[in-house]
């Protein structure tokens, strides 16, 4: 980078807000998806909105692409730096600015950790509902970018349901407010578009969240089935009975083994484990839990048990939330996938995954948000064995294709990012992607904000003839002009 620009950036954030030594930059070369790595030119750590605006303003003037980063826990490479670009880390903007209990709203900076929002409002019996497995480390800004879900979004909805307002620095450095403290502010729902746009439309610098009153009681049931098909049938019956549990999670035997090895949640050793959580008023939950118990037994569960205490319940969840990391106990390397299928396609897709796994000689463990059909197949491999990594990658993409063939999606909560952008053209037709990119052009005509992510082919926004200047992406051969 030009020394003059470098100086200018440093003057915005101060010497402590700039990372530029190669050793330190390594921390930022990837996010939770570690098989993609790019070294950024520099990392900037602004401490307020004005600094973010000033940094983005310089990037806009100098045509430097930038990538916003929260805690870097994303699993699709959304916070992967781009070539010749900088990273803007929001980690230092981590203040909870306002807590308005009477209106059930909290205003936070993007670097605030997800679980800290609940931590702040818990004494008043409130909680922040979206609960990705990484909630003890992931940031609200990252959650907004990815529209993060979690086990409880079956009942409570995703991040987008819980974001009411945003302060956003647009890719030209200007500041806008989308949504607000009240619902339905006049105008387009640009907030709805921004949430889940994976950092491609700008940087959120302030987020107004909705918090939820803690239900009177929470009950968690574990049911052990011979296999995932029986467990899946129980899920369908629970839904058909007109219930909307707070969460329904499923794990197969390999996933149970891994969780046991890692955190000893005392799961029954079975082919398909179901975890059903109901919450609400005591009388209601108890009446419905009896129905759930009966449905599980009717579908072949040989053990059904209710967590007896909060401690036991937390342990059950600890096992589930540790499932990804637990794979390290049973395999040196693994790929986490995030496909979604209509719930009814579960038996068909599961047996096809088993067949493909056997054919490729690669083990696949399965953890799902079974209530909403969100599969997390964990493709296990050993990088040291020649050809295994490639075989595992191609198996994981094949599983996503299966999801699409079943009428589903390539991602339920992890985002497209760098990892799945090529799959986008299998899920969407050209006019669909083109329309999304037209929206992008309204926010970021120069395509500086996390370019090269989400879309298989970045499209440059039509500029008037005569004003043509080759874009860095164009000269690098990664984009074409239409």
């Amino acid at each position: 980078m030009d020394a003059r620009i470098f100086q200018e950036l440093r003057s915005i954030v101060g010497a402590h807000g700039l990372v530029s030594s190669p050793e330190e930059l390594h921390t930022y070369e990837c996010d939770g998806l570690t098989n993609f790595r790019v070294m950024p030119l520099a990392v900037l750590l602004p401490s307020d909105t004005q600094q973010v605006q000033a940094i983005v303003g310089v990037c806009h003037r100098e045509r430097i692409p930038f990538v916003a980063r929260g805690s870097g826990t994303g699993l699709s490479g959304g916070a992967l730096p781009v070539e010749n670009g900088i990273v803007i880390s929001l980690a230092r903007m981590n203040r909870i600015l306002e807590m308005d209990l009477a209106n059930a709203r909290v205003v936070v900076e993007p670097g605030v950790i997800n679980l800290d929002v609940t931590g702040r409002v818990q004494p008043y019996q409130y909680f922040y509902a979206p609960d990705p497995s990484s909630q003890s480390v992931c940031s609200i800004g990252g959650n907004v970018a990815e529209n993060s879900g979690g086990a409880h979004c079956l009942k409570y909805g995703f991040t987008t349901t819980h974001v009411l307002g945003l302060e956003v620095v647009l890719p030209d450095g200007s500041l806008v407010h989308l949504g607000g403290k009240c619902l339905d502010m006049p105008g387009y729902d640009l907030m709805g578009v921004f949430v889940g746009s994976e950092g491609t439309l700008g940087i959120a610098t302030k987020v107004t969240l909705r918090i939820v009153k803690r239900p009177e009681c929470i009950r968690t049931l574990l049911a052990a089935f011979p296999g995932t098909n029986e467990a899946g049938a129980a899920v369908s019956d629970i839904i058909a009975a007109g219930m909307l549990p707070a969460a329904i999670e499923m794990m197969d035997n390999l996933a149970i083994q891994a969780a046991e090895a890692a955190v000893h949640p005392n799961y029954p050793d079975c082919g398909g484990l179901l975890l059903v959580e109901l919450d609400g008023p005591v009388a209601e939950v108890e009446a419905l839990m009896r129905d759930v118990d009966e449905i599980c037994r009717k579908n072949g569960a040989w053990e059904v048990r209710l967590a007896k205490s909060d401690t036991e319940r937390m342990l059950v969840w600890k096992g589930r939330k540790a499932a990804f990391a637990a794979m390290g106990r049973i395999s040196p390397n693994y790929i986490v996938q995030d496909g979604v299928i209509p719930r009814t396609a579960l038996p068909r897709v599961m047996s096809e995954i088993a067949r493909l796994s056997e054919e490729a000689g690669i083990r696949v463990a399965n953890v799902f948000h079974a209530g909403d059909g969100n599969l997390h197949p964990l493709v296990l491999y050993d990088r040291r064995i020649a050809g295994q990594e490639q075989a595992a990658e191609s198996l994981s993409y094949r599983i996503l294709e299966l999801c699409l063939e079943a009428g589903g999606s390539i991602t339920g909560e992890h985002g497209v990012g760098e990892e799945k952008k090529r799959m986008m053209s299998k899920m969407f037709a050209e006019p669909d992607l083109d329309t999304m990119q037209r929206v992008r052009c309204a926010f970021d005509p120069l395509q500086l904000s996390n370019p090269t992510k989400v879309f298989p082919t970045p499209r440059l926004c039509g500029e008037k003839p005569g004003e043509y200047v080759a874009h860095p992406l164009e000269t690098a051969g990664v984009a074409e002009r239409y």
């Binding site: 806008v176 619902l183 299928i341 329309t435």
Partner: protein, 420 residues
Amino acid sequence: MLKTSAFEENLRARVGEANLHLASAGDAVSGVLPEFVAEPNDERQLAGILSLANEAGIAVVPRGSGTKLDWGNPPRRAQLILSTARLNRIVEHVWADLTVTVEAGCTLQSLQQTLGQHGQRLAFDGLWPERATIGGILSTNDSGALRLRFGALRDLIIGVTIALPDGTLASSGGKVVKNVAGYDLPKLVTGALGTLGIITRAVFRLHPLPRTAKTFSFSAENSADMQQLILAIQDSQLAHTSLQIRGAASELLAADILFEATDAGLAAQESQLRDLLGSARVEQSPGSIWDARQNLWNPPANSTLLGKISLLPTHIAKTFDFLKSLGNSRKVSWQIVLQATGIGMLWLEGDPDQLSAVVKQSRTELESRSGALVILHRPSELRAIDAWGNAGDSISLMRAVKHQLDPKSILNPGRFVGGI
């Protein structure tokens, strides 16, 4: 008009005699009379007509059944009404997956009837369900009492197909409840008043019909007491589905609360509610009490103005008191049906000049507390007042989005926020 007649010829060729007719007085849009009404048979034909209009620079007003056709500002121009009346199929109800794909022209009631056969519903209560279409409800972002529990349509829509002025049919979202692939365009077009594209079909997540439902009502002496009761319910662990407040200049404030649960759960919640409300009298009410919002529209006289208000739940009392004193001084009568979400329907009746002043002052008041007042229906003398109010600092971004999708501004020109 030469341009129009060439366009008419093309249009006739595209849509066929039977599906095209000249507009009559009943087709007027806030006093502006269009020339034609086209009723395409399917979404491809609709997209084709739209692209013809775009090429000819013809202004298009999308229309479902027209129940909310005068919402928003009067159009700057309106030549063609593009009706979704024939796009009324329920494409696919996958009851086991709790999803439905439906064309834009299907009425809410007809959709609910089909879903009900499998014990399901779109957990949404819009105005005039027997006539209002899915496309129209989405475009106007109408929402009712069920929003407190289930969210608005923006929270229930999981996929959409829109026709753009250049003839593109674009889909986004999908058919599964959980999906973060690509931009959330279903939310972008919800509430866009048909200014970005015409919704041709939508996919929704569904909910089971409740096992039992019971409504209770209670009242309060004054607005401060009512606000306290509402906040106490919202801060409790009751699992109510809806909570609305009914207020008028001359009456006590009343509120209604809906529980949907098992019999056992319902009994427990009823007793908790009675404990919580203390001395306030609690009575069971018929389900028809939830029509209160719609009843404000029966029938709008020419001295009636209706609007949608947004406020914070802690500003309920202030807002009621403000209206009471303003209504008195301006001799304007008023009624409100307000949901605990902070979204309410405001009804005003009086002399047009006074109505205009009340709207202006109420809007200033609400906006100063980060809320809003949007006019939905007004006497014809008041057509010049802006329906929307302050659009905030993202208005240029909104214009940029509009320009990307409808560069010639042929869709409902002038009807949306900031003259969009």
